[in-house]
C-alpha cells in the first residue's frame, strides 16, 4: 500500500527527504500530488493541465504556463496560443528536468502574465485556497494557489512587476523574484524582456533557496544572464545580529496600505529588531511617486513588440481572411483578451514617432533614477523591507473592471523590479484571516542575504502555511 503523503503540510525539503530516504518513490509522490489536485483543484483552478506520466527521480514541480515545456501545451493563459506545443524546453524547465524534478502540470496565469489576480486568464480565474471567493493574486496565481493548497511542493513563476511576490503574499507562500540576469529567460513567453524574471515559489525560504540554486546561473541561450558571483547558501541561522534593515519613509503616507497589512508588517519589523537587526529609515521618493507610471510605459512598450509575433502565420490559431493584413488583424482581435490589447495599444503609443521622447525615453530616465535611488538606500542598509502587497486577497471581480485599481496592487513590488533587484516575499501574519506578505529587497546578487533574513524571520514568525479552513481542530486550537 502506498504511504499516505500529506501534501498540504509537506515542504519541498521534506518531500526531498522522503524520496532520498526511499520512504516514498518519485512516482508515488507525483501520484499523491495528482490526487490532491483531483480533490481540490476543481474549486481552485490552479492548473491548466496536468501531466500524468512522471519522468524524474526526485520530487514533482508545477510550472507557470508561460514556461515552454517540450511536448506539453504552453498557452501563457491566452487563446492565441491555444494548441501551441513547444518543440523545446525553456532553460529553467530543462534545468528542473536535469535535477530530476517531474512536471506535475502547467499553472494558470493572467494572459501573457499581465494582471494581478489571474482573472485575465483566457481559461478562467484561479481562486485563493484561503478563501475561494477571493483571488490568489497574479499573474502567477496558479502556482501560488497550487503551492498553498498542497497541489505542488513548489513551483516556478515569472515576475515582471510583482507576479511572483504578490500572489505568494496573497496565498501565504514564500516567493523569490531573483536579480535580473541570474535566471535564464530562454523559453519564457515574453511579456517585457527587460523586466521578466523567473523565480521559485514554495512554502518555506529554504525550499525557495534550493529551487533557486537549481535554476540560476548563466545560460548561453540568454545573453542577459550572468554566472552567480557566489553559490547559493541554504540559510540556517535564526539570528539577525548586525543586519541593517531599511524601511522607506514613504510607506507612512501611502494610504493604499490597509491597516491590517501595516500592523502585520510592523510586527515583523519588531521581531527583526528582537532578532538583533537594526531597523532604520531609508528614502525612495522617486520609486513610489513615479515607479508605476514608469513601469506602465516600459512594460507595455516592450510587450507591444514582444506580442507582435502572434500573427497566425507560423503557430497558434489563425483566422483566415481575404488578405494578409486582414488575417493578422482578425487573428489578433480574436486571440488576445482585453488586457494584452490595452497594453499593446499603450506600448505602441509610447514608442510612436513624436511621442517616444516624452514617454518611453522619459521612462528610461526615470528608471535610471530608480536604480540610483535603490543603490543609495542599499549602500546604507543590507535589506529594504516593505509590505509585499498593500492589501490582502480581494474578492473576485472587485477590480476586474478598473485597470488602474488593479495596477495599484503592484505599487510596492514594481520599483525594485525596474531596478533589477531581487525581492523575497514571506508570509508575516494574517489580516482578516488572510495572509499578509513581507517584502525583503536586496542589492544585485543579494539573494543569500534575503534568504538569511527571510529564514530567521520565518522561524520567529512561525506562520502556518495551511489555509485556516483546512486546518485540523488541534491546529486551529
Amino acid at each position: 500500500m502506498a504511504p499516505v503523503v500529506d501534501t498540504l503540510r509537506l515542504t519541498a525539503e521534506q518531500a526531498l527527504g522522503l524520496v532520498e530516504r526511499q520512504e516514498v518513490s518519485p512516482a508515488e509522490l507525483h501520484a499523491a500530488y495528482l490526487e490532491a489536485i483531483g480533490e481540490r483543484d476543481g474549486e481552485l483552478h490552479a492548473y491548466l493541465r496536468t501531466v500524468d506520466a512522471p519522468e524524474g527521480a526526485s520530487v514533482p514541480i508545477a510550472l507557470k504556463d508561460v514556461i515552454s515545456t517540450k511536448g506539453v501545451e504552453t498557452t501563457a493563459g491566452s487563446k492565441i496560443l491555444s494548441g501551441y506545443v513547444p518543440v523545446f524546453d525553456a532553460t529553467v524547465a530543462a534545468r528542473c528536468k536535469a535535477a530530476g524534478l517531474s512536471l506535475l502540470g502547467k499553472t494558470n496565469t493572467d494572459e501573457f502574465a499581465m494582471g494581478s489576480s489571474t482573472e485575465n486568464s483566457a481559461w478562467g480565474p484561479s481562486r485563493n485556497p484561503w478563501d475561494p471567493t477571493r483571488v490568489p493574486g497574479g499573474s502567477g496565481g496558479g502556482t501560488a494557489a497550487a503551492v498553498s493548497a498542497g497541489l505542488a511542493p513548489w513551483g516556478l513563476g515569472s515576475d515582471t512587476g510583482g507576479s511572483i511576490k504578490q500572489p505568494s503574499a496573497l496565498c501565504g507562500n514564500v516567493g523569490l523574484r531573483p536579480t535580473y540576469g541570474t535566471v535564464s529567460r530562454y523559453g519564457i513567453v515574453a511579456f517585457a524582456s527587460s523586466l521578466d524574471q523567473v523565480g521559485p515559489v514554495a512554502k518555506r525560504v529554504r525550499d525557495v533557496a534550493l529551487l533557486y540554486s537549481i535554476i540560476a546561473g548563466r545560460d548561453p541561450h540568454d545573453s542577459t544572464t550572468v554566472e552567480l558571483p557566489e553559490p547559493v547558501r541554504l540559510p540556517e541561522a535564526d539570528r539577525l545580529d548586525g543586519l541593517r534593515i531599511g524601511v522607506p519613509r514613504q510607506l507612512e503616507s501611502l494610504d493604499a496600505i490597509e491597516p491590517g497589512v501595516r500592523a502585520a508588517f510592523e510586527r515583523a519589523l519588531e521581531l527583526a529588531h528582537e532578532l538583533g537587526a537594526e531597523v532604520g529609515e531609508c528614502d525612495l521618493p522617486t520609486s513610489y511617486r513615479y515607479g508605476m507610471p514608469c513601469y506602465y510605459l516600459i512594460a507595455p512598450a516592450e510587450a507591444s513588440s514582444n506580442l507582435a509575433r502572434y500573427d497566425g502565420v507560423r503557430f497558434g490559431p489563425r483566422t483566415d481572411a481575404a488578405t494578409y493584413r486582414e488575417m493578422v488583424e482578425r487573428t489578433r482581435d480574436e486571440g488576445f483578451g482585453a488586457e494584452p490589447k490595452r497594453r499593446i495599444m499603450l506600448g505602441t503609443y509610447a514608442l510612436s514617432a513624436g511621442y517616444f521622447d516624452a514617454f518611453y525615453g522619459q521612462a528610461q530616465k526615470v528608471r535610471t533614477l530608480l536604480i540610483r535611488e535603490h543603490r543609495e538606500a542599499l549602500a546604507r542598509f543590507d535589506v529594504i523591507a516593505t509590505p509585499t502587497s498593500p492589501t490582502v486577497a480581494f474578492p473576485l471581480g472587485d477590480k476586474a473592471s478598473d485597470p488602474l485599481a488593479m495596477y495599484a496592487c503592484d505599487l510596492l513590488t514594481i520599483p525594485s523590479c525596474l531596478a533589477g533587484l531581487p525581492g523575497l516575499s514571506i508570509p508575516c501574519g494574517l489580516s482578516d484571516e488572510l495572509p499578509v506578505g513581507l517584502q525583503l529587497l536586496g542589492p544585485q546578487f543579494g539573494e543569500n542575504s534575503l534568504f538569511r533574513t527571510g529564514y530567521a524571520l520565518e522561524q520567529a514568525i512561525g506562520f502556518d502555511t495551511v489555509p485556516l479552513r483546512w486546518r485540523t481542530p488541534e491546529e486551529t486550537a
Binding site: 529567460r185 545573453s223 507560423r314 488578405t323
Partner: protein, 469 residues
C-alpha cells in the same frame, strides 16, 4: 541650364558566416525550404537572440576598410512592422548607434580621387524569403496565397549607406565595383548580385550644375546588376530633369527598375508614413568591442583595392588598373610583369584573353604567362589561344607552344592577302574612304585562311601597305 545628378547608395551585403546572426542555424543556399530553422529564427515564443561574434568582427573589419570610426558601444534595436517574412514582427538591427560610422572611400578617377562619404555601416538580420502565388503584381496584395521560406531569415546583413556624394551613373557603377572588390577581398561575403548576397538601392535627385542644394530624391530598387544600376540611375535622372524643366515638382517616390524594358515603375504610395517604433533590443547587450580587438582587425587589413589601383596605375592607365583590380587580376598582372612581361601587353592579355578563356586565375603560373605575352606575336594565333586556355592546367609549360613559329614570310603570305583584297571590294573601298578600323577585318580573314598560323603583326603591315599602296 545643365543639371547634375546627386546620388547616394544603400548597399546590403549578406555575410558568409557559417551560422546566422542570432542563432546557430547554418547559412547557405540550396537547402530544402524551412530546413535551416530553429525556435530563434522562427520567432517561437520565448526564443532569444545570441549574437554571432564573427559577424560583429567582420562588420568592424569592413568599417575599418571603409575608414569608419568604430563605435565603442553599438546597440541593436528593434524595427517593428508586420510582414510574413519577419517572424518576430520586428527586425533586429543597429539603428542610432551603428558599429561603424563617418567613413570615406576614395574612388580613383582621371582627375584625382573622388571622396565618397560613408555615413554608416551597420549590422542587422535578413528577412525570410516570400513567394506570392497568383495575382499579377508579384506582391502580397492580390496574391492567391503566399509561401515563406525562413532559411534566409536571420542571415547577417551589413547595410552600408553612402553620403549623396556620387555625381554620375558611371561613378556609381565604379564605386560599387570597387566596394564589391573590397568586400570580396576581406573574405566576408561573396557579394554576388545574382544570388542576392549584394543588393543595392539608389537614392537619386538632380540639381543645377554647381549648386549645392539637395532637391527631392526618389529611391530605385530591384536593380540586379551594376549595369542595370547605372541604367536605372541614368533613366531616373533624365526623368527628373524633364519634370523640373516642365515646371513641375519631383515627388518623393520609390521606383522599381525593370531590366527587360529599362523602365521605372512607381510603387503605389502608402497612405500612412511608416513608423517603425525603434527601441533598444532588450534581449541583447550592447556591442562593446575592445580596443585590442579593433587594433587586431586593423592590423589584418590587406592593401585595399583603391590603393592598389593608385599604385599600379603608374605603370598602366586608370582604366586598365581599374579593370585589373576590380576583376581580382592585379596580383597575377604584377607577378607576370615581374617575370619579365611588358606591363600594358600583360594587362591586355590578362583582362581579355585569360579572362575570356575562363582560366582560373589563381592557378596561373606567372612565369609561363610572361613567356606567352612576350611571344604572342611571334607564335601562331591558334597556338597562343590554346596555350592561354591551358594556362590553368597543373604543370602547364609554354615550351611546346613557344616552339611553334608563326608564318612571317611575306612571299608566302602575299598571295593570300591579294586574294582577300580582291574578294572584298566593298570593304577595300570603305577602308580607303577612311574606315581604318576595317584593317582588323582583313587581318582576321588572313588568319582564318591560314588557320591562325600567320604572324598577325606581319600580316597587318602587309595588308596596310597593300591597301594604301
Amino acid at each position: 541650364m545643365t543639371w547634375e545628378p546627386v546620388i547616394g547608395l544603400e548597399i546590403h551585403v549578406q555575410l558568409k558566416t557559417q551560422t546566422k546572426m542570432f542563432c546557430r542555424c547554418p547559412v547557405g543556399f540550396g537547402a530544402g525550404e524551412n530546413t535551416q530553422t530553429c525556435p530563434v529564427c522562427l520567432g517561437l515564443p520565448g526564443a532569444l537572440p545570441v549574437m554571432n561574434r564573427r559577424a560583429i568582427e567582420w562588420t568592424i573589419l569592413l568599417g575599418l576598410a571603409l575608414g569608419c570610426e568604430i563605435s565603442e558601444q553599438a546597440v541593436f534595436s528593434r524595427k517593428n512592422y508586420f510582414y510574413p517574412d519577419l517572424p518576430k514582427g520586428y527586425q533586429v538591427s543597429q539603428y542610432d548607434l551603428p558599429s561603424c560610422k563617418n567613413g570615406i572611400m576614395l574612388l580613383p578617377t582621371a582627375n584625382g580621387d573622388r571622396v565618397i562619404g560613408i555615413v554608416r555601416a551597420h549590422l542587422e538580420e535578413d528577412a525570410a524569403k516570400t513567394i506570392h502565388v497568383g495575382g499579377h503584381s508579384g506582391r502580397i496584395g492580390g496574391a492567391d496565397f503566399s509561401l515563406v521560406d525562413y532559411n534566409r531569415g536571420g542571415t547577417p546583413l551589413v547595410e552600408i549607406v553612402t553620403a549623396p556624394d556620387i555625381r554620375s551613373a558611371d561613378e556609381a557603377k565604379r564605386f560599387l565595383q570597387l566596394l564589391r572588390q573590397t568586400i570580396v577581398e576581406l573574405g566576408i561575403s561573396d557579394a554576388e548580385m545574382e544570388k542576392g548576397t549584394l543588393r543595392v538601392d539608389a537614392n537619386v535627385s538632380v540639381r543645377p550644375t554647381g549648386s549645392d542644394e539637395l532637391r527631392t530624391r526618389t529611391e530605385i530598387k530591384n536593380m540586379n546588376s551594376f549595369n542595370f544600376i547605372a541604367r536605372g540611375i541614368e533613366a531616373e535622372a533624365e526623368r527628373q530633369i524633364r519634370v523640373w524643366e516642365s515646371g513641375e515638382d519631383v515627388r518623393q517616390e520609390t521606383y522599381d527598375f525593370d531590366a527587360a524594358t529599362g523602365k521605372l515603375t512607381a510603387r503605389r504610395a502608402k497612405e500612412e508614413a511608416d513608423d517603425y517604433r525603434y527601441f533598444p533590443e532588450p534581449d541583447l547587450v550592447p556591442v562593446e568591442p575592445s580596443l585590442e580587438l579593433v587594433e587586431r582587425l586593423r592590423s589584418e587589413l590587406p592593401e585595399l583595392p583603391a590603393a592598389r589601383i593608385r599604385r599600379i596605375e603608374a605603370d598602366l592607365d586608370l582604366d586598365r588598373a581599374m579593370v585589373l583590380v576590380t576583376g581580382g587580376l592585379d596580383r597575377l598582372w604584377e607577378e607576370t610583369v615581374a617575370a619579365g612581361a611588358d606591363a600594358v601587353a600583360a594587362a591586355n592579355v590578362i583582362a581579355n584573353a585569360v579572362v575570356g578563356a575562363g582560366v582560373e586565375i589563381d592557378a596561373v603560373a606567372p612565369t609561363e604567362l610572361a613567356r606567352l605575352v612576350e611571344a604572342r606575336e611571334r607564335i601562331p594565333r591558334a597556338a597562343f589561344d590554346e596555350a592561354i586556355a591551358k594556362l590553368g592546367d597543373v604543370g602547364f609549360s609554354a615550351d611546346s607552344y613557344l616552339a611553334q613559329e608563326a608564318v612571317s614570310d611575306t612571299a608566302e603570305l602575299e598571295p593570300i592577302v591579294d586574294a582577300i583584297i580582291e574578294a572584298n571590294p566593298g570593304q577595300v573601298a570603305a577602308y580607303r574612304g577612311g574606315k581604318e578600323g576595317l584593317l582588323g577585318f582583313f587581318v582576321g580573314q588572313v588568319m582564318k585562311e591560314t588557320q591562325g598560323k600567320a604572324n598577325a603583326r606581319v600580316v597587318s603591315e602587309l595588308v596596310r601597305s597593300k591597301l594604301t599602296g
